[in-house]
């Protein structure tokens, strides 16, 4: 028996049917066609599927689709406004903080969560907050530089 | 023309002078002079011409003084 779920994704009201065993990640990618959220492990270890769930950073592979009932979900697709990139996205590009880019959507969402919680992180705080987002290409150096620069730019803008 | 240890077994010597100005002539001369060094042994290999690795040397030419080596083709990740 599938459940009928009403939720909000990136500000849009969304309804879907889902099996009780289906993860939110599976619903997003396979039923709603929102493939910006990536799957790297399916076990909450890599962070490629990071989304904000009622403002809280979660791995979409560890949340069930049915739990989305009445929730507000934000995915990477909701970070930019039309074609205007968010500062975090701009800084990732400026600092060449991605190579293959598969971890990038998760890192963008996690960085947003970090800077909403702590607008002035130290480098060490940023490294620990983002420890749940694996990147195999960059060695994290340019990611951390992008995050610190985004934080500084956002503080100036605020 | 110099041979590494793997080819030396076929060639019976570590190096020799050959008169050839291109790959085809080189192959012909080598296989005639050293019967153990067959086309099957040589054609899968890359040719190094004065230090420049040529993975596919079929049409390669070189000078009379060139130092030549055959090496395994490098594949990589």
């Amino acid at each position: 028996m599938k459940s009928h779920i009403s939720t909000t994704i990136n500000g849009d009201p969304v309804e879907f049917l889902c099996d009780p065993s289906q993860t939110l990640l599976n619903v997003l990618r396979n039923d709603l066609g929102m493939t910006g959220t990536k799957e790297g492990c399916g076990s909450g270890d890599c962070g490629a599927c990071s989304v904000l769930f009622d403002g809280e950073l979660v791995c979409a592979c560890l949340v069930l689709g049915v739990e989305a009932q009445g929730a507000e979900i934000e995915t990477v697709e909701g970070v930019a406004t039309h074609d205007q990139l968010h500062v975090i996205q701009e800084k990732f590009l400026e600092h060449a903080a991605l190579q293959c880019g598969i971890c990038t959507p998760g890192l963008i969402v996690s960085t947003k969560a970090l800077l909403e919680e702590n607008p002035s992180p130290t480098e060490e705080e940023a490294r620990y907050f983002l420890a749940g987002n694996l990147c195999r290409c960059t060695g994290y150096d340019k990611i951390i530089k992008a995050v610190m620069d985004a934080a500084a730019t956002m503080r100036q803008g605020a | 023309m110099c041979f590494n240890a793997s080819l030396e077994k076929h060639a019976g010597c570590a190096s020799l002078h050959v008169v050839a100005l291109n790959y085809r002539a080189l192959l012909e001369e080598l296989t005639q002079r050293l019967p153990q060094l067959t086309q099957e042994v040589l054609t899968p290999l890359a040719l190094v011409i004065d230090g420049e690795i040529v993975q596919e040397p079929f049409l390669a030419g070189f000078s009379a003084e060139a130092e030549l080596h055959f090496i395994e083709k490098i594949a990589a990740g």
């Binding site: 396979n30 | 590494n4 090496i71």
Partner: protein, 750 residues
């Protein structure tokens, strides 16, 4: 080339053309394509490391209404039992086929046995239980020592060791032996004052790309079938699938999706041929995805190794002889990177007397695949550790010791040729001058330094550049972009054409829209495909001159083209590239440039890394507190992405040295097939990775480029290993330097 040149775009830090899509989630990777009517494939995998399949009956699964197709080894027409009987089996494809779907015998935990396609992913997975399979379990062979012992079970009854002095007479788990030598090794050691001899080992590790293998395919009887997949080489996917399924190349179109990391691991096929069989049988598009566990257990990790190294030197620091015996695990089928391991092991050194012997050994683990400078990290780790120990014994600084013996232009390598101009000495000098090396070593910290060498390759690349009537254009290339190479293609073309990089859109075309390109690997893309881009752009420049000449009614020789503008040498007239494109209709139609090359002259890249490590003596835990990666790029086209290669390679090497390893039970079951237990470095594990670009131009490339992708993973193993050894005051001979192993060393010293 090599004279100093002023560049307008090369060397700048532009925004990558594919960046917008990647930071907004719009970019489509391997698992991101779904098609109408699509069904899902799932794979039944072996629970045993080594077993004969005594029964494989799919009839119950076939009867299930959700199941639309089933595939087994018998569905590979070119290599199946009938083809073997007829002697029509194609060379080299047998191992690939048997690895993708086992033939009567499973050779590692997770080895694929059969595949099912069903209406949903869940239904496909559930239907795997309906396959009736029985095994006769055999003793697994899980280490080199075990594999080469006289009592070892033989994995392949027909495998004879190649490369022995006398032809082998009986089957063996050693598939090949290689020998390389230079000078007189015994005389070399006789001339030495000090000799270090030590055995080293490294574990099985995985490339650890974050994107699992995935594919969506459509079989088409009447036109080309389509394969969508993340791969480093879609033309090679096409070739392998065509061979396995007896199809012509023209019957298959492979679309390279965006690729979520590869590092050598996405240079072969696993799911693609199986999915195409399922699609052919079901008449539906088929999608398949590997789980992370499947990726660890059944894709291609990098070889575990054992190395015996002996190095001798005089008290003045001159190395007189170096000797190595190298064993590489190939996994279940022959073909470890033992060859390049032997060729690279001592190449950073200009030494008279060298001897190297290598062995390729099969074990009951997944068939290895390439991993960044395949074979070199293992052997050069051992060599660099021994060199550092020897430098210390003699009392010489490790940089001075290396400078005294460094490979340079004219050095005779053990694999034959003399080196051309290379940048090892420049890297060592840069290391000596670096802030890191000049900083005092903090208390309780060990410092290590190591060098690395990788050949780099050239090879085949094809490029088309089309210009539009307004002067913008498209660069059509066929090298999957794994780390920002489209940015460098754009910059190189812009440099030649004298236009803004952003006016040229680089795309990685499928196998139908551009001619053959070799796989993205061997650090070849910016070098070789870049060379093709330059040639295609130069082809356009010639055409632009001819078109401008036609406009002015002069000859092409009377036209000069510079910085995007044609000049009439007989007068004052000028036409921009955009002007010429706008009038192309009048002068012969639109303008395209083209290049199909087999690039020669790849320049080797050397690197030197410095690492500071702190060890917690209570727990054995290690912390990298400072790290510097120095490498010769020849010429950095896009410095940020060059630094990114240095940093990424360094951190993969750090992971290899400190934590990563496959852990097997005594039955050969992989016990850590997930990112929680197979621990790749996290952001919180690392400091800043300082990157220093050295530029010693490669004279064979128009801009001086050397590939940079691979070398960076080589030095970290010994830089880290030496730093740990210094920190704990004991020699390190086995990787990874994981806390339990370090703690054991610390306790044994007390």
């Amino acid at each position: 080339m090599s004279e100093a040149r002023e560049f307008k775009h090369i060397g700048q830090r532009t925004i990558r053309p594919d960046g917008f899509d990647k930071v907004t989630g719009k970019a489509n990777y391997g698992a991101d394509l779904s098609l109408p009517g699509m069904i899902w494939g799932a794979i039944l995998r072996s629970p045993h490391a080594h077993a004969n399949i005594t029964k494989l009956d799919v009839s119950r699964a076939e009867a299930n209404p959700d199941v639309l197709a089933i595939a087994t080894f018998e569905d590979f027409p070119s290599v199946n039992a009938a083809a073997q009987r007829d002697g029509t089996q194609r060379d080299g494809m047998m191992d690939t086929a048997c690895n993708i779907l086992a033939n009567q015998k499973v050779l590692y935990h997770g080895h694929a046995v059969a595949a099912i396609a069903a209406r949903s992913e869940a239904a496909a997975i559930a239907a795997l239980d309906l396959i009736d399979i029985e095994y006769e379990v055999l003793r697994p062979v899980l280490s080199i020592d075990d594999a080469i012992s006289a009592q070892a079970p033989i994995l392949h009854e027909t495998m004879m060791t190649q490369g022995l002095a006398e032809p082998a007479t009986k089957a063996s788990n050693i598939s090949a032996r290689m020998e390389l030598k230079k000078g007189d090794i015994e005389a070399g050691f006789a001339a030495a004052d000090v000799i270090v001899e030590r055995a080293y080992d490294t574990p099985t590790v995985h490339q650890g790309y974050i994107e699992p293998h995935a594919t969506t395919v459509v079989f088409n009887e009447n036109g080309p079938s389509m394969i969508w997949c993340p791969t480093q080489g879609h033309f090679d996917v096409r070739a392998r699938v065509a061979q396995l399924l007896n199809l012509e190349l023209g019957q298959i179109k492979v679309v390279a999706s965006e690729i979520g990391g590869g590092f050598g691991g996405k240079t072969t096929v696993y799911l693609e041929p199986v999915a195409l069989i399922l699609s052919r049988k079901s008449g539906r598009p088929v999608k398949m995805e590997m789980s992370r566990g499947d990726v660890f257990r059944a894709s291609g990790p990098a070889s575990a190794s054992q190395s015996l190294i002996k190095v001798g030197a005089k008290m003045d620091g001159t190395i007189t002889a170096m000797q190595a015996t190298l064993h590489y695990e190939a996994g279940a089928f022959q073909g470890s990177p033992m060859g390049p391991g032997c060729m690279t092991v001592f190449t950073p050194y200009d030494v008279e007397n060298l001897y190297v012997e290598g062995f390729d050994v099969v074990v009951n683990k997944p068939k290895v695949a390439a991993y960044r400078a395949p074979g070199a990290p293992q052997s050069e780790f051992a060599a660099e550790m021994a060199v550092n120990e020897l430098a210390k014994k003699i009392g010489m600084d490790p940089i001075e010791f290396r400078l005294k013996n460094a490979a340079k232009e004219g050095t005779q390598t053990i694999y034959g040729p003399k080196l051309k101009v290379v940048g090892l000495e420049a890297c060592l000098e840069a290391a000596k001058a670096s802030p890191h090396y000049n900083a005092p070593i903090p208390e309780n910290v060990g410092r290590g330094l190591a060098a690395g060498f990788w050949f780099n390759i050239g090879g085949q690349s094809s490029v088309i550049i089309n210009l539009n009537p307004d002067g913008t254009g498209t660069i059509i290339e066929g090298s999957p972009d794994i780390g920002g190479s489209r940015a460098s293609m754009q910059m190189m073309a812009a440099e030649i054409l004298g236009v803004a990089p952003s006016s040229l859109n680089p795309i990685v075309a499928d196998t139908e829209h551009v001619a053959y390109n070799q796989t993205t690997g061997g650090s070849r893309t910016t070098f070789a495909t870049g060379m093709a881009v330059v040639e295609a752009a130069e082809d356009i420049v010639e055409q632009l001159k001819a078109r401008a000449a036609a406009m002015w009614n002069v000859t092409a020789e009377q036209v000069d083209f510079k910085d995007g503008v044609a000049h009439n040498l007989t007068g004052e007239d000028q036409l921009t590239l955009a002007d010429i494109c706008a009038s192309a209709e009048k002068t012969g139609g639109q303008i395209s440039g083209r290049a199909n090359i087999n690039a020669r002259g790849a320049g080797p890249s050397f690197a030197v890394h410095i690492c500071d490590i702190k060890v917690d003596k209570e727990t054995g835990k290690t912390d990298v507190v400072r790290y510097t990666a120095i490498q010769d790029a020849g010429k950095a086209i896009h410095p940020s992405y060059v630094e990114g290669q240095f940093q990424g390679g360094a951190v993969q090497g750090i992971g290899w040295a400190l934590n990563e390893e496959y852990v097997y039970s005594k039955d050969g079951i992989m016990e850590n097939a997930g990112f929680l237990d197979y621990r790749i470095p996290l952001a919180s594990d690392l400091p800043e990775i300082e990157a220093i670009i050295v530029e010693v131009p490669n004279s064979f490339h128009p801009f001086g480029v050397r590939g940079v992708g691979e070398t960076g993973i080589i030095p970290p193993l010994a830089a880290v290993g030496t730093a740990v050894a210094e920190a704990i005051g004991q020699p390190i001979s086995s990787l990874p330097c994981s806390p339990p192993k370090i703690l054991k060393l610390l306790m044994s010293a007390q």
